[in-house]
């Protein structure tokens, strides 16, 4: 199923997240989360919170500043808003991933495509639903990672979500550097190419 992926240790959790659905799971320090893009070019919107203190959470800006690059690649360290390592990209079959494009929302869809899209399901809705189970809300929304999503930046600053560079079975492995609550939206967007205009399931494997 995965394409020449490195071996994982003992699998402690293995779950397929349906197309368009939220997912939340605590990954302990030292465990590895493998996200598999089962059918290809499926954006996986991703947030992480410190399990010990959820005011400390993934920060796209801290991560970009520390690594001096807007793309997430093998070796990238996801930093918190306090500058602490949360997870490390230990392996990936996709050259780079996005962390500047953020999540789709009903409200931003009205700007990007028109008010006819306001009623469509969106990633922020998934994040809110999942986070609500642990008492988090809208103020816990920050810029996220978009695994398998392609957002190039041109010389004049032009940027946008364009056709993906992922494919069926490609993966990303994330080793937790602290206990983290991972919150995912398996992106339901159908108005741009982030999901190839066809949201599909992804697989989540946690190993130690």
């Amino acid at each position: 199923m995965t394409v020449s992926a490195p071996p994982l240790g003992t699998v402690v959790h293995d779950e397929v997240v349906p197309a368009r659905a939220p997912w939340m799971h605590t990954v302990r320090a030292g465990q590895t989360l493998r996200i598999v893009d089962l059918e290809g070019n499926q954006a996986v919107d991703f947030l992480a919170y410190s399990a010990a203190d959820d005011a400390e959470r993934y920060s796209a800006q801290d991560t970009i500043a520390a690594q001096g690059n807007v793309f997430l690649r093998e070796g990238s360290v996801l930093l918190s808003n306090e500058g602490a390592p949360m997870m490390t990209v230990t392996a990936t079959a996709v050259a780079y991933h996005d962390t500047i494009g953020g999540a789709c929302s009903c409200e931003s869809n009205t700007l990007r495509y028109g008010h006819h899209t306001k009623a469509q399901h969106a990633c922020v809705e998934n994040f809110l639903v999942a986070n609500a189970q642990q008492g988090r809300g809208k103020r816990d929304m920050v810029s996220n990672v978009n695994w398998f999503m392609n957002v190039p930046v041109e010389a004049d600053g032009a940027l946008g979500i364009v056709d993906g560079i992922s494919a069926p079975g490609l993966y990303v492995d994330l080793r937790a550097e602290m206990d983290v609550v991972v919150v995912v939206s398996n992106c339901p967007q159908i108005n741009n190419p982030c999901n190839g205009f066809n949201p599909t399931p992804v697989r989540m494997i946690v190993a130690e």
Binding site: D54, A55, S59, A60, Q61, D62, I64, A65, A66, G68, N69, V70, F71, N81, E82, G83, A84, Y96, I100, G101, G102, A103, S105, C106, E107, S108, N109, T110, L111, R112, G114, H115, V124, G137, K138, R139, D140, M141, V142, S143, N144, V151, V153, A155, D156, G157, A158, L159, G160, I161
Partner: protein, 274 residues
């Protein structure tokens, strides 16, 4: 006997300090502000304050207010948070701001968008053109690495902890510190995704003017950029001056510049339809 040995002497000592001028201080009343932008009547000034190197401020301004941020000496480095003052759970969303406008470089004519599909502020003037929406705020750890410490009570405050104080004044907390915009220090993205920074120093007097499109809480932290390569804590004072202005009319060119931006204004106008 010292000047402060009893309450009467201490009172006289305290009162004798009034009228002292400092480099970093607010003008109160704001209508006493001097060196105003051309055409601004003193009676319309609602806020005038100079932030120290490493200083911060937070302030509520009304829809239509113009807020000019001036880099007085060429090395100011303000990081900016914005909230809908009426309902602060709505705030600046950097990702939407870039994605919706199809561009990562903010400048004159660009919009600062909320996470609710509305425009919080427009950049109506920008003589700098060198800003950064990618790299965010310095924090205790990053300042400790560079300067030995980053404490609010020390000589090298970090932007994140300055934000903590600024938002606390409005009853907000650590979870409300969202991804920020850094003004005056430029970050560009190279073809491999590399961040390329230019911290200047620049000529003194550069400014940006924001037009509040909603009632806003503005939070500013004037700390060295997180990627500033200089060994010393290099930052100079920032002036914030705000004055009353009209709500953006339907014919405004920035309002109508792009279909995405126009819908953000329409969403604001819909919000205030009450």
């Amino acid at each position: 006997m010292s000047d402060t040995a009893n309450p009467y002497a201490a009172q006289a000592h305290a009162r004798a300090q009034a009228g002292t001028r400092a480099q970093a201080m607010p003008t109160v009343p704001a209508t006493d502000a001097v060196d105003l932008p051309q055409g601004v009547a003193p009676a319309d000034v609602v806020w005038d304050e100079t932030l120290a190197p490493g200083g911060y401020a937070s302030r509520q301004i009304a829809r239509g207010t113009r807020l000019r941020l001036t880099d007085l000496a060429g090395d100011a480095s303000p990081s900016l948070l914005l909230f809908n003052a009426e309902r602060p759970v709505e705030r600046l969303n950097i990702a939407d701001t870039l994605k919706v406008q199809w561009n990562g470089y903010l400048g004159q004519g660009r919009l600062l968008l909320s996470d609710m599909g509305r425009v919080l502020a427009s950049l109506v003037e920008d003589t700098a053109g060198t800003h950064d929406a990618f790299c965010g705020a310095s924090n205790q750890a990053s300042n400790a690495r560079k300067y030995g410490d980053g404490f609010n009570h020390g000589a090298h405050p970090n932007a994140r902890d300055r934000f903590s104080l600024g938002v606390a004044k409005f009853g907000l907390g650590r979870k409300d510190i969202h991804p920020c915009l850094n003004l005056f220090k430029e970050v560009r993205v190279a073809q491999g995704g590399e961040t390329v920074i230019d911290v200047g120093p620049y000529p003194p007097g550069r400014f940006v003017t924001l037009r509040a499109e909603m009632d806003l809480i503005v939070v500013l932290a004037n700390c060295p950029h997180v990627l500033d390569p200089r060994a010393e804590y290099a930052v100079t004072p920032l002036r914030a001056t705000a004055w009353r202005g009209p709500v953006t009319p339907e014919a405004d060119p920035i309002r109508n510049a792009t279909p995405e931006g126009l819908r953000a204004f329409l969403n604001v106008e819909d919000y205030y339809r009450r």
